[in-house]
């Protein structure tokens, strides 16, 4: 581990947002093969391997720009990370704001699921027969997997709306963003549920 230099005489280069790194508008639909092509092309130019014999300033700059390129590619390549990032730079989503409360329409099913999970843990502890519980949880897992798919579908639809509203007025954009944000929260909640169930079932 090294300590970063205190100050550098390099003219500060302002960090660009990840869309701008690739010269892209802030649209959620991205042609993946084009993104990869651009990423590879820019890697040739920016990678620190090209600057081993260069001045310290150039080396610093290469490190900064190439890490930015890699961060941008990593984020934009993943459709969910891409939406999260867009909402963050548009000021709609703040760090740590993820709501972990159950979406109202799912309350009943979540309640049932949690009950089954508790029963499973108890049954495991007392060595009871788990077959019935296991089947019930497996069907719940499948049910929530399906819901995850639905949310993903809704997210895609909202993303298309965002792209269409790119030039629209502030209020309209704000409304789409709020919907995207709500969908992201719902998705993260359901995903956690599925992960937990999968984990518990794997331990049976």
């Amino acid at each position: 581990m090294t300590t970063a230099p205190t100050s550098s005489s390099t003219k500060p280069v302002e960090s660009q947002d990840y869309f701008a790194v690739f010269g892209l508008p802030r649209k959620l639909w991205i042609e993946m093969s084009e993104l990869e092509q651009k990423f590879l092309q820019m890697s040739w130019k920016l990678h620190p391997d090209n600057f081993v014999n260069a001045t310290e300033q150039e080396r610093e700059l290469s490190l900064k720009r190439s890490s930015e390129l890699n961060d941008a590619y990593r984020t934009l390549r993943d459709p969910i990370a891409r939406v999260e990032y867009l909402l963050a730079i548009e000021g709609e989503r703040k760090e740590g704001e993820k709501k972990q409360q159950a979406p109202p329409e799912l309350l009943e099913e979540v309640f049932e699921l949690n009950e089954s999970l508790d029963e499973l843990r108890e049954a495991k502890a007392s060595g009871e027969n788990l077959a019935g519980l296991k089947a019930r949880l497996e069907s719940a897992e499948k049910n929530f997997q399906g819901k995850l798919g639905e949310v993903d579908g809704e997210l895609q639809a909202a993303a298309r709306e965002w792209d269409a509203a790119l030039k629209a007025d502030h209020a309209e954009r704000k409304e789409v963003m709020a919907r995207l944000n709500e969908l992201l929260n719902r998705r993260s909640y359901i995903r956690n549920l599925v992960t937990n169930v999968t984990k518990e079932l794997a331990e049976v």
Partner: protein
């Protein structure tokens, strides 16, 4: 500036390689004995001089308390990490300070980077003798699954050895570079690298672009405590037990005996790569000879746990790359341990294709390092390597949980920014704990560093400090902080959790200069004398063996004359003369050695007959 060499700093052997300008192909540089492999063994003589490589390896048998092997297993680790290790190795670890291991060799203590530096310096000397000019920059390979502390320790070792480490390259990636140049492969490649002490699996994509070829690592996984050594340990434990069934021998105080057994077993292991059976004949202090015939089947059953342990990381790496075994276009086997037929078969069955083994598995990593050195030196402009960080980087949050800020398998360099503020009025510091690993809780991850952000007094929540965590192209972390209200950059003094401070390195560098100043001839002399002493001791021992009585007077006289001549040249300072004397004595004792060997074998057979009666 001079040339950049590529160095494979291995657990068992180390090598140095360069790119031949005329052909553009990488090549390993031979040492003074003509071999390209330098055993990663260091011995400190009674007079304080340092012996590295083949002569040091011989001293494992004669002076185990002054000699250390497999030091790579201790790099970047704390004393608590290596307790299990120490049960198997005859290392003497001194009371540790600052979480740094210190190994005692004779009456001196050394940190693992200092010992690795002796090996690096030896290789630097090989390269300098070969080129006839100074070499001070290198690309050094590390296991892909090495964490930040282990990488930093490797870089420190370079610094202490007087080498600027321009790049740390992951070993499986280096192997892919060497194979890529050799085979002109395209598509998806899995590199399975089982070395002496570490296991890595990397999944790469080889892409042709109009600018040239890109080697993009998609995912990597591994175990930094799994290797050929573990196979040897299993064999050794198995045979120990067998011997103890017949004979009451306490192995541990006999450092020498354990080392000799290990060496004999490694011979058996190598034979079993070619033959279906191999026999161990091991002379015991009682004069009896222990024999055991290994079949390949029994050997494979014994070592299967080691092979099975490699499969977890293999599956994880494929899952992370979102690929199936059948998606791989090529499979490459690297590392001496992959000569084992069981490993070749396992890889072939899992990936359902014949793995590449064309390049010498001992040399391929060093060759790849030389390719990367040539890329950095701009000798080759149409190759680019994009590697990844093997472990997620995280920050400890409230309640001992870890927030992942850079996920594993992110292309490096990679960075993450985190915003911090204060919780109470006039708070002057924010404690930050950086970790590496995949687990959810801080206590289960590897601590990289702790530091305190200094904050000017202000009402709670007002300060806004942005901390930037950056993993550079070597996989090493850098930290910088910026006060967003003032725009001021903060310097962060990061004290690594496991590692040596910069001032300590400076000190070691100064100390090491005395070693550097021993010139080439002087070093040759020390090595030649060591070699001579070891063969003189072995011959003296052989001559006192009752079996040696059967050699005739003429032969005995000839041996004695050669001994006298060698002793005389050892007293002098011409290393070439000493080497010649060693060769002559080796030659003169050939028949004697054969005689003793045969008698050992026949007494073993007699022993068996007695037991059968």
């Amino acid at each position: 500036m001079g040339r950049i060499v590529g160095i494979d700093l291995g657990t068992t052997n180390s090598l140095v390689a360069y790119t031949v300008e005329q052909t553009g192909q990488p090549k390993c540089i031979p040492g003074p004995y003509g071999a390209t492999l330098c055993p990663s063994v260091v011995s400190i003589d009674a007079d304080g001089s340092v012996i590295v490589g083949e002569p040091a390896k011989r001293r494992l048998l004669t002076q185990p308390e002054r000699t250390i092997y497999s030091v790579k297993r201790l790099m970047g680790r704390g004393p608590a990490d290596v307790q299990d290790e120490l049960k198997l190795f005859p290392f003497r670890v001194d009371a540790a300070s600052n979480n740094v291991i210190r190994v005692r060799l004779g009456n001196k203590v050394f940190t693992p980077p200092e010992i690795s530096a002796f090996i690096l310096r030896e290789l630097k000397n090989w390269a300098e003798a070969f080129f006839g000019e100074g070499v001070d920059r290198a690309v050094v390979t590390v296991p892909a699954y090495f964490n930040d502390a282990q990488r930093q320790a490797t870089k420190d070792a370079g610094k202490i050895a007087g080498l600027e480490v321009l790049r740390l390259v992951n070993e499986p990636t280096a192997a892919a570079l060497a194979y890529g140049l050799h085979e002109k492969q395209r598509g998806r490649v899995a590199v399975y690298d089982l070395g002496g002490g570490t296991f890595d699996i990397s999944v790469l994509k080889l892409i042709s672009t109009s600018d040239g070829d890109i080697y993009q690592v998609l995912s990597t996984n591994g175990d930094t405590h799994l290797g050929g050594d573990d196979i040897d340990n299993l064999l050794q434990a198995f045979v120990h037990e067998k011997i103890l069934q017949h004979d009451e021998i306490d192995f541990s105080p006999h450092g020498e005996l354990a080392q000799e057994l290990r060496r004999a077993l490694i011979g058996v292991k190598h034979q079993l790569s070619e033959a279906e059976t191999a026999t161990l004949r091991f002379p015991l202090p009682s004069g009896k000879v222990f024999t055991h015939e290994f079949t390949r089947g029994a050997f494979e059953a014994l070592i299967r746990p080691v092979v099975d342990r490699t499969m977890g990381p293999v599956k994880q790496a494929l899952a992370d790359a979102q690929l199936k075994p059948s998606d791989m276009d090529e499979v490459v086997l690297v590392g001496g341990a992959t000569r084992t037929p069981l490993i070749r078969r396992t890889a072939q069955e899992y990936f359902d294709r014949k793995p590449h083994t064309e390049l010498n598995p001992d040399e391929v990593v060093a060759l790849g390092a030389a390719v990367q050195a040539n890329i950095l030196d701009r000798g080759v402009k149409n190759m680019l390597l994009l590697d990844v960080t093997p472990l997620s980087l995280g920050i400890e949050t409230y309640g001992g949980a870890v927030a992942k800020v850079i996920p594993r398998n992110s292309t490096i360099p990679a960075s993450a920014q985190e915003l911090y503020t204060t919780g109470v009025d006039n708070q002057t510091g924010i404690d930050i704990h950086v970790l590496q690993g995949e687990r959810e809780l801080a206590k289960d991850c590897r601590s990289l560093a702790r530091f305190t952000l200094k904050v000017p007094p202000a009402p709670a929540g007002l300060p806004r400090i942005e901390v930037k965590f950056l993993i550079d192209a070597n996989g090493i972390l850098q930290v910088a902080a910026k006060d967003l209200r003032t725009g001021e950059q903060h310097s962060i003094e990061v004290q690594p959790s496991y590692g040596i401070s910069d001032t300590e390195i400076e000190h070691m560098l100064e100390e090491s200069i005395e070693y550097a100043e021993q010139d080439f001839a002087e070093r040759q002399l020390i090595e030649a004398r060591t070699e001579a002493e070891s063969i003189l001791a072995a011959t003296a021992k052989a001559l006192t063996n009752p079996e040696s009585a059967s050699i005739d007077a003429a032969e005995r006289a000839r041996i004695n004359a050669t001994i006298a001549a060698l002793k005389e040249s050892v007293a002098g300072s011409d290393y070439k003369l000493i080497r010649k004397g060693v060769d002559e004595l080796n030659h003169a004792t050939e028949h004697l050695a054969e005689l003793l060997m045969n008698s050992a074998v026949s007494s073993a057979l007699e022993g068996r007959k007695l037991a059968e009666v």
